[in-house]
């Protein structure tokens, strides 16, 4: 006979996977919108953020209900508490997708050329999110650790991108607004990488009981 708590965990997992899918889609869309400077779709992403916020609330209240009614311990407690922490990062990732889209809606100039390392950086960050989600779905600690390690790649690429932006702004001051916009977008991707790292760290905690190598009590 299935334990009542296990049935709730199944519902929680379904909801989490659904929210993961939502943020993956919105992030893909934001990257695409940025490439094509598609203002109409950018607007749709901004409006769609509310749906993800509602999903976060829904999962949050399920988790609180599970804590209140079941008072879980050991792995059960880690499942619920890591879900509660992860949805905050997932929601932030969606916020950043909306932030990037908002910049796209305000671009009034001809984008001459995106910084050379920009695509690699945004791809790596988006890929980190995919794999963090995958690690959660499969409860795969090894994959979670790869995601955590990849954060350094994104951070280093951000430094490169920043330098490129500074360089072209020094050469051509008429492109300073473009430079500022892309610096902000790059920062959003860098933050997305951080949130993917956080998700991976909570996956590791959920499976092993260790958070960044420490026992959480």
């Amino acid at each position: 006979m299935k334990n009542l708590f296990d049935a709730q965990v199944e519902v929680l997992n379904r909801q989490m996977i659904e929210m993961c899918g939502m943020i993956e889609n919105t992030l893909e869309d934001a990257s695409d919108v940025l490439q094509k400077l598609d203002v109409k779709r950018a607007q749709e992403i901004i409006e769609g953020d509310a749906v993800i916020d509602r999903k976060e609330r829904e999962i949050e209240s399920l988790c609180l209900r599970m804590l209140l009614t079941r008072q879980p311990v050991a792995h059960d407690l880690r499942v619920v508490s890591s879900a509660l922490k992860m949805i905050t990062d997932m929601e932030r990732i969606a916020d950043h997708a909306a932030d990037i889209s908002e910049i796209v809606t305000m671009i009034q100039y001809e984008v001459v050329k995106q910084p050379a390392h920009f695509t690699a950086m945004s791809r790596t960050a988006v890929d980190m999110v995919h794999r963090a989600v995958d690690a959660y779905v499969r409860q795969d600690v090894e994959l979670a650790r790869v995601v955590i390690a990849d954060d350094d790649i994104v951070d280093n690429l951000f430094v490169e991108v920043k330098q490129e932006i500074v360089d072209f702004m020094v050469k051509d001051s008429t492109r300073s607004i473009e430079g500022m916009d892309f610096l902000m977008i790059a920062k959003y991707y860098e933050r997305i990488g951080d949130h993917a790292t956080n998700i991976a760290e909570w996956v590791e905690y959920c499976v092993t009981g260790l958070y960044k190598g420490d026992v959480l009590r």
């Binding site: 334990n3 708590f5 879980p72 311990v73 050991a74 792995h75 059960d76 009981g209 026992v215």
Partner: protein, 249 residues
């Protein structure tokens, strides 16, 4: 410091082995919780600590239990042992006499006769059990008129009146409402400053709230012991995890 040490303890009720090679240390001024499904041996073990099983026909044990290094199944006087190791049961069991006489019963048995001395012990014990304020104006009333929670605190006071060193509690709150349960739990935490406490509980949250270390029993064996926080967050044995998360038991 280790107050009670249990070594290779086997206990049989006739042919039935209720405890199997139990090894455990109960540390001074800490609360040790015994958890496990019904019939796993935790109450049997707690009763062994002040030889309450002596009266059970067909009960025999091998191995040793020492109190401050002294074998309690050796030359130790059983009455003296039970003065040093007091016990509180699942169901409050006040004697059918006044509140005062319930508390004075133990000291009188141990030879205290002076009224002033008894008065002091009664007040002190009732204060330590956090029930003095509720009963101080009706000490001569029957203890049976108290509520369940008050009766249980009275029983704790009665145990404290003979100045024990160890307090054994066998599911002390299972018959009580949440308010009374909360009071007994607070009391246990206060009392550990002066006493060593071992508590049997079926309430996982209670073990988590008040105990410092926990031992998980199954079919007469100690499966796992550890700091309570560790045992409930990262149990080492799958059977412990399955029990504390309600998957069996």
């Amino acid at each position: 410091m280790c107050k009670i040490e249990i070594k290779d303890l086997d206990l049989f009720y006739g042919d039935f082995q209720a405890l199997k090679k139990v090894n455990m240390k109960i540390v001074e001024n800490r609360i040790t919780a015994f958890i496990g499904p019904s019939g796993c041996g935790k109450s049997t073990l707690i009763k062994t600590l002040n030889r309450m099983n002596d009266l059970v026909v067909g009960c025999h044990i091998t191995g040793s239990v020492t109190l401050d290094g002294e074998d309690i199944y050796g030359d130790m006087d059983v009455n003296l042992l039970r003065k040093r190791v007091g016990m509180v049961f699942q169901k409050p069991n006040p004697f059918p006499m006044s509140i005062y006489d319930n508390i004075a019963y133990g000291p009188r048995t141990h030879g205290v006769r002076r009224k002033a001395m008894l008065d002091e012990v009664v007040e002190h014990s009732l204060r330590d059990a956090a029930i003095w304020e509720e009963v101080k104006d009706r000490l001569n009333n029957s203890a049976l008129g108290l509520s369940g929670g008050q009766q249980q605190r009275l029983c704790i006071a009665r145990a404290l009146a003979v100045q024990p060193e160890v307090l054994l509690m066998d599911e002390p709150t299972s018959a009580l409402d949440p308010i009374s349960t909360g009071k007994i739990e607070e009391l246990a935490v206060e009392l550990k400053e002066k006493y060593t406490i071992a508590i049997v509980t079926h309430n996982m949250q209670q073990a988590l709230r008040i105990s410092d270390s926990t031992a998980f029993f199954l079919l007469g064996e100690v499966i796992e012991t550890g700091e309570t926080q560790n045992l409930f967050s990262m149990p080492q044995d799958k059977r412990t995890e399955d029990y504390i998360t309600g998957r069996f038991g």
